[in-house]
Symmetry: D3
Subunit: 272 residues, 6 copies
């Protein structure tokens, strides 16, 4: 399901000229993909697709979601050397990107789950890679949140500005499909309460300070709305301030950095 | 030249259900893309492609390569609101990613050029985005290095292992096209000297300590090879250790992190 | 957003040989698309895409959702005759298919809304045309229901068989994304009640007789569950038996025939 | 040859979230596709393509063109349950659509062949599905007629209007490729005779009443033209009036409804 | 309708690095495409597509089918210089290839038409370019013959070998669509006569000597079959032996070399 | 890596109607691809891709680069006859085109290498086929030269005209990536010398007479520049004048005709 041919064409539109100069077309060998750090592995089955049908037998030695240590061989490759080297960089770029996301997500989840809070990703993904990135988030234990603009009703500030008022926006949203919830992004405690009273299923507290989050949660409890609405904290959450927000016990915290500022995981292919 | 339709389909395979519920199909308005930080802008003309032919007039207010400050409006949008909101996230994801790369590259270049050293990117890019990422590197003042496996001969450790010796590898490389240079990745000072003596056009010193780089450069000068070979330092170079390597004055320093561990630049779309 | 080039290639991989024999390349003229029946028009803006950029000025005379009568000109075309005739059949095939769906949906909605019941479509669509068909359903006033397997949790008999029990299935579904509802397809009144008690958001009563629907609704009311669960009737609903089911006042009735057994609407292109 | 990946992406752009919640990734099982009516089966080999290479062994139990009864298992599936359920709806949508067409065509052919008359389809097909639909027509025993605008010269009223006269149109058509016949669509008995006299290979009697068809056939016989020209009746032919036209013994009757107003055939997938 | 983006990507996957180094992004200018020989021009409107929407105004100065002389400017280009140079080679490659075919076809047609014989192309075309090549043949005055395997019934030696006999093959072919002719490839005079007697619409005399062609034509006349069958001569016809075959006056002579061994026409782009 | 499905669709958008009429769907057999001339075989592994996964076992009997004689069977095919015949023409068109190029290249290389001169191809290739054509050149022993506009800096007359002077052009080119050489196309002996003095890595002597080539080489030697610059002769070189230029011993001679005016090699498929 990943566009292997297209991505190979990006890296080798006219073949791998170095290997074609140096390596006999039929030379076979064995190699391993080695982890250069401690990670939550992700993408090993996608990498298997990269090597499918090219004369290289690819054997994953770990599964997505497994912990791997520096020096671990995560996969073995046996077969045509030219085919291996042609796909090496693509394979490592995929594996490094996805493992980077899963590892960061796991770290965030571990912090938040101590407080019973869920961690979610956003739509701030890399163009062309959303399916892979959302999958990596789920491998790391995160919630994939809205996948696309087509699958969830989320009323944001620009919508409210365009229709005139939160009330009018929520009223229009009543015509949504019966299978969809309605979420509202709010920027003040007052708007949060108003949206909850008007029947929003989910509140997204956008760029709230911890103090504002606390106030909102308290007020919702007071009005008996807390059980009827899901509270999501979003905007500017980083690994550094995550615990502070989590300790306030909203339902969900969403973090764009999980997918928009990925720190690659380091892997290499070693011929033996 | 960017796959706008494909990327929009990724974010809205069945349209933007929220805007379709809330916003009249013909509602028009004005909005701006606002920078939320101090960056080297990159991707503004790609974002223009995102809005082409959809009923939104897109006016860039800065050009790629310009410095922008927090709060700057980098583009104005006038026209159909639904069309704007449908493309908002895609546009911001592109702009944030490319600007992130250009900004980091500029920072690295500013450090290295004090020592007359060039900064280059690598093939450690995001699948599907290499052309955009290499372009962002050049906007930031970096060298794009090898673009693909098809356009430069670069002999790496796996090649040498497969053919048996550096000597044999370099001998095969003599049959390369007359328009190509030959680069050799080396892991020891001795190999660097050997490769230079055998006529390599470029040496890639892979994962060398500063001390090893210094030794290599000294030995090359001593043997009168320094002028005949380009010396590239690569592997594990970060913003933190860049200056230490640059001060040794190799010709080029290449940094995978410019493209594989991008820190997004923050932009938002505000309807006025 | 429709694949005009691909669909034209399907109908004219090597051009329109008749027009090329008979009609001078630069001949211009005027034509109209005429409705041959009484319909809820749908697809006129998609047809506009078919004629975009080919030297034909296309002017819709009605909008999607409008009622049109036999003999009404729904669009005017002025320009190159060859270009018009090359696209004629594709344009009419799209318009006829989408208008057929919108018209049938409107008819069903008119019956059901008398009882306050919503009509929904299903995933029984034509491969490659789902977005157009779901849009036509909404133009006809219907609910688009689940768009894809990715955007709604719907537990069906095959899932329950695979995991062993409804209870276990619903328990797994608790890990769904916080933005999703959970729907359960049930085949008996008892299962319906069980699923409602276990917290399903939506019940799909599959192939229930009217009597079974009535019993389910009564039992849900009795247990005070009616307000907490949405009841959807599905399976074997046709225009003929729709009113009988609607009069029982479930929340939603879904009808596969809206999209899987389309009766085309008849349009023709007349040169004047 | 069918776009399986594209059609799966239409139904599951981000995977099947229900199965991923409920069913273990490696769970295997056995299922069958069951016919829910009496049909001429069509598309079973296309459905085989849907399941190719996904870890499901697909065994057709009937062939295209076979009669199947309600309750017949038309195919067996053994293997990964997630893979089966991901493809279930696509497979059934294809099978239902093609079987619906083949079944209707067979019914029409059985009526017409009693009179020695051939039944043909038209270009009124579903965008993107013409190859499948024309194939289903042939499986049902029908003639596929013109496949595209590129493969047959068919002069219609709009052409004649554009060039000025039938005579001029037929004269231009003499320059056609030597491998092509020329067909003329006519709207009156007089035009039919004129076209036959001028050498048309095929006459398409468009929207003729039975009486007009009879007159045309009689006049052609009288003038000794009947053997030199093929007579096709077209426009407004339905299952209801087919026999009336067939009994007049034209050579061919073409019916758009075979492909433009398909009544789906009902199949289901049952896990055992 | 030509895949401009795909073909540009073939020639410039990462842009035109020379122009990007040398030419300011906004530099404008004027250039002309100059013919370097005497040709039948073909492809000028396809070249217009290459320059569409890139900031270059393209003005054809001749039309497809026109005679051009050495030194003639066939098109003018005004606008962005980088955009012009990026597309230069693609434009010239298309124009040279198509003009080469049209010019050769015209030459063959001029020879054959003196004898009232038609010249046709074959399916021996360049993969990916058949539509362009068949069009160029028609611009040169040739017959496009069968366009694809889907649009004409042509029984060849391999078919006859597979089914057992010419008779059986022709009998099967009676079930063809009523819009298709039947052509038979024969290798002996006897087979030609047999096929004609059995009702073939067209005979393809494959690799016949002129003497064999003459005998076949004489025998067909003698048996009164000449008027009922079209005689095509095929196989090994070159510009050199064309007249010898044409003088025997078969109906058609087909020449694979028109499209499989193209001699490019020479054009250049000159900036003024 | 070749677009087999797309190319098959070009030749059979609706299947092979002749084989479907004549040949039973399951008929199996054996056939061979026979060479009809003496060639340097090229493309046999690409042809293998054409037959992959279609029920035909394809066995190459020679490898790319082998000499084959008239009558040699270059490959054996065993399996489904319909599948074989559907792919026959595509397979032969590919094989004939690539073998034609490899054979012509080999002939040119044999002439030039007597003088120690290398033969190179150009970017004058067939749209969509460059990768195949450049590969065929290398199989014939030629140099592939610049593959695309993205991989080599080549300053041509239009660039110089646009920037004003050769000097300015070469000065801009200094900012190229450190992995690229710089080549300059020159039209006079003086310009050649100037470019060499200014540090061009490669000179392309464009449309030089043999006398001009000789003068350039002599002058370069005299100035001691000959060893520092590669001299390429280009423009108007044919098989006829190749030796005259080669005998002057430039480094490289490039010939557009290798790929832009291919003479097909003749192969046929014979069922046994």
């Amino acid at each position: 399901m990943i566009p292997v041919e297209e991505w190979l064409r990006e890296d080798a539109p006219y073949g791998d000229i170095t290997s074609e100069l140096l390596i006999p077309p039929d030379l076979e060998g064995y190699g391993e993909i080695i982890s250069r750090g401690k990670y939550v592995l992700c993408g090993i089955h996608h990498v298997a697709e990269v090597f499918a049908g090219c004369g290289v037998e690819f054997t994953p030695l770990f599964h997505d979601g497994d912990d791997v240590e520096e020096g671990d061989a995560v996969a073995g490759l046996r077969g045509n050397i030219r085919a291996m080297l042609l796909r090496e960089r693509l394979a490592l770029n995929i594996l490094g990107h996805m493992t980077g996301i899963a590892t960061a997500t796991r770290r965030a989840v571990e912090i938040a789950e101590r407080y019973g809070v869920r961690v979610a990703a956003t739509r701030k993904t890399t163009p062309g890679l959303r399916a892979l990135e959302k999958y990596a988030v789920s491998v790391g234990g995160g919630d994939t949140h809205r996948l696309t603009l087509s699958d969830h009703v989320l009323i944001k500030d620009n919508h409210i500005r365009a229709v005139g008022s939160l009330e009018r926006a929520l009223s229009c949203a009543r015509n949504r499909s019966f299978v969809r919830k309605v979420e509202v992004e709010v920027e003040t405690v007052e708007d949060a309460l108003a949206a909850a009273r008007m029947g929003a299923d989910i509140l997204m507290l956008d760029n709230f300070t911890p103090e504002m989050v606390r106030k909102t949660l308290d007020a919702l409890k007071e009005e008996g709305l807390k059980e009827r609405v899901i509270v999501e904290v979003s905007g500017g959450i980083t690994m550094e301030n995550l615990e502070e927000y989590a300790s306030l016990r909203p339902d969900v915290i969403s973090m764009g950095c999980l997918t928009h500022s990925v720190r690659v995981a380091d892997f290499s292919l070693e011929l033996r």
